[in-house]
Symmetry: D2
Subunit: 91 residues, 4 copies
């Protein structure tokens, strides 16, 4: 069981909504909608994904990382965490 | 017809692949996979969305914005473009 | 003369303020201030730099890019612009 | 003493280098250098600031956050951490 176990339903709901938004993007392209409107929608998908990522990351720190620190064994988990944060922040 | 018209098939292919990646995220959550692995996959969806956004933006500048400038009427399009770039860059 | 010529004084004022903010970060480190407070200040320097970048980019599109399009010679400038946008957006 | 104490000299060296880079931006503007070259330099200052932020964040987790978790008192520090990560990732 991982950190997000207690938020699993909420997480799935968000991911399904994001899937719907991506299909919405396909529909907009299909209907030849205006580029800027598609980009606005795409920015909002990116923001929704980021919110999911931040939620997962918070659960991960509160559970997996915290437990490994309590066991006196946090170093590797913290290194792994920092790499994940680096990927989430881009560049 | 907008700037992305000639890349429409490629654009739809990419968006369908992103939709598949988002479903992949749901499956990972369903199967209780490790938080960090989900985050890594999520970062790669974000990167794919960003690539689509940059492609759309390039087409938009090369067509819609360039044409409005050629008509001597580029100012509003450029303002709109800069707002879209600001949204894509976050913050 | 480049696109930012008419905003040169404003641009220099902003860059001098950013330089002051970076010296402020050094002072915070020197005085052993709290990590999170330093990170908050660092995020605000990043936001100020991004604002300068967006301003430069807007001027560049309104002048250099627009003029090259009017001369019927926009393609290379647009490619260069898209690379710069890609760098500004990270990833 | 905070997490970055043992990296204080390295941190100050990096911040001084960033200060120099910001002065470099002012010089480029003063000398009317090309917009895109200034933007490239600005992107590299942003990347350097991000690297400093990631370093500070890692030290903070390894020390302040880990110690508060060991004391059984991590919740508030973790909340604060997540807000700081959110600010670093923009949007």
């Amino acid at each position: 069981m991982y950190g997000y176990a207690e938020h699993k339903k909420d997480l799935q709901d968000r991911l399904r909504r994001i899937e719907g938004q991506v299909r919405g993007l396909q529909r907009m392209v299909e209907e030849d909608q205006y580029c800027i409107d598609i980009l606005t929608q795409l920015s909002s998908v990116t923001a929704a994904l980021k919110a999911v990522g931040m939620g997962l990351l918070g659960d991960h720190v509160r559970h997996c990382v915290a437990e490994s620190i309590e066991r006196g064994d946090g170093e590797a988990k913290i290194e792994e965490l920092m790499l994940a944060v680096g990927r989430l922040t881009g560049r």
